[in-house]
């Protein structure tokens, strides 16, 4: 048996290191992860101003989720588009390390950066609010926040896999950004949307996770009728489904590309 001459763990660490360096060298990621969410947070805070103490949490959760969304999807998904643009997608796909590990390294870093962005949004809106944020259990809130970003990362991984097949990654991300915010109900409960749109929302793992987070953080919150634990089960189920889909798509992508010998068809 021939021993593997590479280590997946080492590849993962190398990708994370490269993701950090790229993040620091290319300041445009500040926009989706920081500037946009802070602005959305302040705008929604102003819109909700005077609607009660719990609405500040809507602003924080929504804008924090936007920050995480920007970081995970732009950072992870767009990286595939950048690889294509820079001509590094083919060498990356033909490298001994499975492409899934490359994307996973980016996702892990972007998850951490997304959490940082969410924390900054929290601080900015809290300072603007000028009062203590009404959080019953801050530790549980933080854990749930991390769980929400995991569900977002699951979407990001699927998108990253699908982007290998398309040159419209930028189009999907830019034009579909607000549609995703609406669909997941990041700034308002999904139950406010027309009933026919709910199945579309429920396909997205962050919809469940955000509803659960609101049940946890906002007393008297009226979300989906199945409540917190139903949301958690839905979030776990859809996240597992997304990760399963991502794994399958990545295997197919690699096989397709290696069979075809180039990426020109896509």
């Amino acid at each position: 048996m021939v021993a593997r001459s590479y280590s997946r763990g080492r590849s993962l660490l190398a990708v994370m290191r490269l993701a950090v360096l790229t993040f620091l060298a290319d300041p445009q990621w500040l926009v989706p992860s920081l500037i946009a969410p802070v602005v959305f947070g302040l705008v929604s805070y102003e819109l909700f101003a005077g609607s009660g103490p719990w609405f500040v949490l809507y602003a924080i959760l929504g804008a924090g989720m936007m920050s995480m969304w920007g970081q995970t999807l732009y950072g992870s998904g767009w990286a595939t588009g950048q690889d294509r643009h820079l001509g590094t997608l083919e060498p990356t796909l033909t490298a001994p390390t499975p492409y899934l590990y490359i994307v996973l390294g980016r996702v892990i870093w972007n998850t951490l950066a997304g959490l940082l962005g969410g924390a900054i949004v929290f601080v900015v809106v809290a300072i603007t609010y000028g009062h203590p944020i009404p959080l019953a259990n801050p530790l549980l809130f933080l854990l749930m926040f991390a769980f929400v970003i995991t569900t977002l990362a699951a979407v990001g991984v699927v998108f990253a896999a699908a982007y290998v097949y398309t040159r419209y990654a930028g189009f999907v991300q830019n034009v579909g950004e607000f549609a995703f915010y609406i669909g997941t109900g990041c700034m308002f409960p999904v139950v406010l949307l027309p009933f026919w749109s709910n199945p579309v929302s429920l396909v997205l793992p962050p919809t469940w996770a955000l509803d659960a987070l609101r049940y946890l953080a906002i007393p008297g919150y009226q979300g989906f009728s199945w409540g917190f634990w139903g949301d958690m089960a839905g979030a776990l189920g859809t996240t597992a489904l997304y990760l399963g889909i991502a794994g399958t798509v990545f295997r197919r992508v690699e096989r397709h590309v290696l069979e075809a010998g180039d990426l020109n068809d896509w």
């Binding site: 946009a36 602005v39 705008v43 034009v175 308002f188």
Partner: protein, 269 residues
């Protein structure tokens, strides 16, 4: 032998830049992006903020944010796309050639704004149709003409502002951050989502400097059937913003050009 001196034609420079810039130096001017910017982004952005406003429980807030965002979506095709024009020249390595060409700078710069101005007009028009038809925003009868003037002036001023940011980007390595910052700041400081008076005074002054602020005010006044004296005043503000933006953009371009020619290099930028 009598040689006719070769002169660049101002009209040709203008039209060549108007036609070719969307395919070369302007950002996000592919057909799919343009159609998405005109038809999809305004709708989704307006729906998003309408739901946020409806959650606040203030009945009039929905109409307010819908109109504000209908006009604010002009930023995508005007500011965000146009500000990348100088950046892309530098990236493509064509900036040096442009600087030593005899082309009239105003025709060159203004020509690049033609397609974005048309895209901006289409974006705001479609967004206002959404506002009236889908969100039932009140529409004063007989205000078509007033609205048309407001939209044209806003598109002109916003493209001018995009060129101004493009002028600033001459001195930077990237313009996309600049475009993004003003794309999002517009939602906060222009009165698109809540009255400017809700902001601290210094931020109100910053908002007053943005052409989008006056464009939104003019469109809102037009929809409400404001008297002509009010409209003229608002149009004057939008016009001043447009002239100032184009003027400052040209001044930045000239300064950059002079410094580049005196040093023989643009490498420092």
């Amino acid at each position: 032998m009598n040689e006719t001196p070769l002169r660049s034609s101002i009209a040709r420079t203008f039209w060549v830049n108007a036609i070719f810039a969307p395919r070369t130096s302007l950002g996000f001017m592919r057909l799919d992006f343009v159609l998405g910017t005109i038809f999809i982004i305004p709708f989704t952005q307006m729906v998003f903020f309408a739901f946020v406003a409806s959650l606040s429980g203030i009945a009039s807030a929905v109409s307010f944010v819908v109109v504000g965002n209908a006009v604010a979506t002009v930023t995508y095709s005007s500011v965000f796309s146009v500000c990348q024009t100088t950046d892309n020249e530098k990236e493509a390595g064509t900036m040096e050639h442009l600087l030593v060409s005899p082309a009239n700078r105003f025709a060159l710069y203004f020509g690049r704004g033609v397609i974005p101005i048309l895209a901006s007009l289409a974006t705001v028009t479609v967004a206002l149709v959404y506002a009236v038809v889908i969100f039932h925003v009140p529409f004063a009868p007989g205000s078509y003409g007033v609205l048309a003037v407001s939209i044209v002036l806003t598109a002109l001023a916003m493209v001018g502002f995009g060129l101004l940011l493009g002028g600033v980007a001459l001195y930077l390595r990237t313009s996309i951050i600049l475009g993004n910052i003003f794309l999002f700041l517009g939602l906060l400081l222009s009165g698109a989502n809540f009255p400017l008076t809700n902001l601290p005074l210094p931020l109100q002054y910053v908002g007053d400097l943005l052409p989008l602020t006056w464009g939104i005010a003019a469109v809102r006044a037009g929809l409400n059937g404001a008297p002509m004296s009010t409209m003229l005043q608002l149009w004057a503000y939008v016009g001043i913003c447009a002239v100032a933006s184009f003027g400052l953009a040209m001044a930045l371009w000239k300064t950059f050009e002079r410094r580049a020619l005196s040093t023989g290099s643009i490498a420092r930028f």
